[in-house]
Amino acid sequence: MGVWPYITIAVAVLVFVLGTRLSRSVTRIAFPFATAAIVVAAWRISCHLMEYDLRFPDGTVKRIPVFPTPFETVAAMVDMFRDGTIFRYTIASLYRVAVGFTIACVVGIPLGLWMGWSLRAHDALNPLVQALRPISPIAWIPLAILWFGIKDAAAIYIVVISSTFPIVTGAMAAVHTIPVAYVRSARNFGVSGFELYRRVLFPASLPQILISMRIALGVSWMVIVAAEMIAVESGLGYLIMDSRNANNYARVVGGMLCIGLVGWSLDWSMRRLERLDEVRWGFSKIV
């Protein structure tokens, strides 16, 4: 292994120490890299710690690795990048998440608004929603297969089931916190029925709905591994399960990194939405 991981950690710590005296414009570039460097170095060291010597009776000694190193993982990722696997599978996963998440929004937002505004809808549906919400998507897998077979639909169902409830709950809570002044002036100006949802309840809840959508998108991206455990034969989750079955742990970790990076960029895109004029009023300007 050599001493590079230890040197890397030392350098990174030095960056953190010196960084406190530097301007934010420097640290916002330097600090993430320092953090990443420490993680990679610690990863390499932990690989080293997990290795062990196998001693044979005839005196020969063999070093047995247990976990893929950062380099092996990057090499596996480069391989998968070259042969197009990563691109193909990322598209497959994005497709399932996009469809599932869209369905979750289309169902979840109106349902949440309705349950938030109408006490009777709340009475009727809230117990059901709150009881279904904590059920792990993995527990749904057998039912998903029975209902939807072993194609995309089952995986999409898993995404839907795991992202709808955060949105419903978020939209409902958002309606509950709408300042009464908005509703009063709406009623005063003759807004009622569907128009009330369109002109007041929905736009007033939108900033909070956006936050719950952000959480839900994170969740749906997270459950893609579980969703793709279902006999589908593409996607980043499938890549991980398949590489696991094939004993290729460098690819497993490579797939995990990929999921992390794509998830991060999804979250970044969701945060861009917070800048829209229609919702900007609902976000503080600290960050």
Binding site: L54, F56, V66, A231, N245
Partner: protein, 364 residues
């Protein structure tokens, strides 16, 4: 008020810890042997963990565990249940278990990937079947052309067997679509018509048969008489450092196998005992199902378990030709037959399984 909440949290955590420990921790059997067995007046017995999946292929594992649990001397073999092969494999790689039952080609693949393990014994003979939907018009192997068949894993010998059969019947790769499905889900997949057939270890074949939607197309003995499904794998480190222990384990497994097959012709009471013990104490399956499998003649046998070189060479050839294993390995690189005992010298010291009275008591 805050103090109350903090105290409450501590009480709840402590209570949950105690309750979980009491309810879910398995007994560790590090019990001291009776002083009469050891001149020194009692020593802590060794414990050794062996992995298994709840399938009949792995039956000798829990039987041996149960036997050593009810014997006063020797090593206690702990049977560690897994639900899938990947987790089992990872526990083995990370050295959390020392030995395990697993499908033969997976063991060979691990060895090929540099994981220091050796096959030391077989788990069983036969014990798998090719099952199709009861109402389907599939009656011969050629009828499977263009159909989907579930296999437990690409690293299962069931997969290699399908390739062997396809070649034998002049089919190309892909003429039968093979789909990896976790073994416990095979019957359900057939029931839901997600596959047209499946090939997997018992008791899943019998389950589909008993529940009425499955029909055994071929028993394994009809397809490949020398078929090997599961093997006993031990880590090289243990072989190097604790030879006697591995020896004791293999002798225990061999003895259990001999005992299971000893009275097959005369009522098979041994197998009924095993079905009750293993079904209720290890597999958490209906003992009736296990008994059904175990009582059928020729469905599974536990004799003749020394790893046969010729069959393994054939498996290796199939594995290489289907790209499961990149490079051919020599038999000695993944097999160690030196532990296989002379069957004349192994036997269990009883006729009926010990501890049966405990189980019937628990049932009430």
């Amino acid at each position: 008020m805050k103090l109350k909440i903090a105290l409450g949290a501590v009480v709840i955590l402590g209570g949950l810890y105690a309750a979980h420990h009491y309810l879910n921790e398995k007994p560790q059997y590090h019990a001291t042997a009776p002083s009469s067995d050891t001149p020194a007046g009692g020593v802590v017995r060794q414990s050794f963990t062996v992995g298994f999946l709840p399938v009949t292929c792995h039956l000798t594992c829990p039987v041996t565990s149960w036997v050593t649990r009810h014997s006063a001397k020797g090593t206690q073999f702990q049977a560690q249940k897994f639900t899938d092969f990947p987790s089992m494999k990872e526990a083995l790689i990370a050295r959390k278990i020392d030995a395990t039952f697993m499908i033969a080609p997976l063991a060979m693949k691990l060895a090929a990937d540099g994981v220091p393990v050796k096959i030391v014994y077989l788990g069983h003979r036969d014990g798998s079947a090719l099952v199709v939907a009861k109402d389907s018009d599939i009656h011969t192997f050629t009828d499977l052309r263009g159909k989907t068949v579930a296999i437990p894993s690409r690293f299962s010998n069931q997969n290699l067997l399908m390739h062997r059969m396809m070649k034998q019947y002049g089919m190309k790769d892909g003429d039968i679509l093979l789909k990896e499905v976790p073994p416990p889900e095979h019957p359900a997949a057939l029931g839901a018509k997600a596959v047209d057939g499946f090939i997997v270890g018992e008791p899943h074949c019998s389950k589909a048969e008993l529940e009425g939607y499955g029909r055994i197309l071929y028993e394994m003995s009809e397809l490949w008489p020398d078929f090997i499904s599961c093997v006993l794998v031990v880590r090289q480190e243990v072989i190097n450092d604790q030879r006697e222990l591995v020896d004791e384990l293999v002798r225990g497994i061999a003895a259990s196998g001999e005992w299971l097959d000893a009275d097959r012709a005369t009522g098979a009471q041994h197998r009924k005992d095993a079905a009750l013990v293993v079904g209720t104490q290890f597999y958490n399956q209906d003992p009736k199902l296990l008994e059904y499998v175990l009582m059928k003649p020729d469905r599974v046998s536990y004799s003749d378990l020394k790893p046969p070189k010729a069959t393994f060479e054939e498996i290796m050839d199939l594995a290489v030709s289907t790209n499961i294993i990149p490079k051919r390995m020599k038999f000695e690189e993944y097999c160690d037959t030196s532990f296989a005992p002379d069957l004349e010298t192994v036997s269990l010291p009883f006729d009926r399984m010990p501890g049966l009275d405990q189980i019937s008591q628990q049932k009430k």
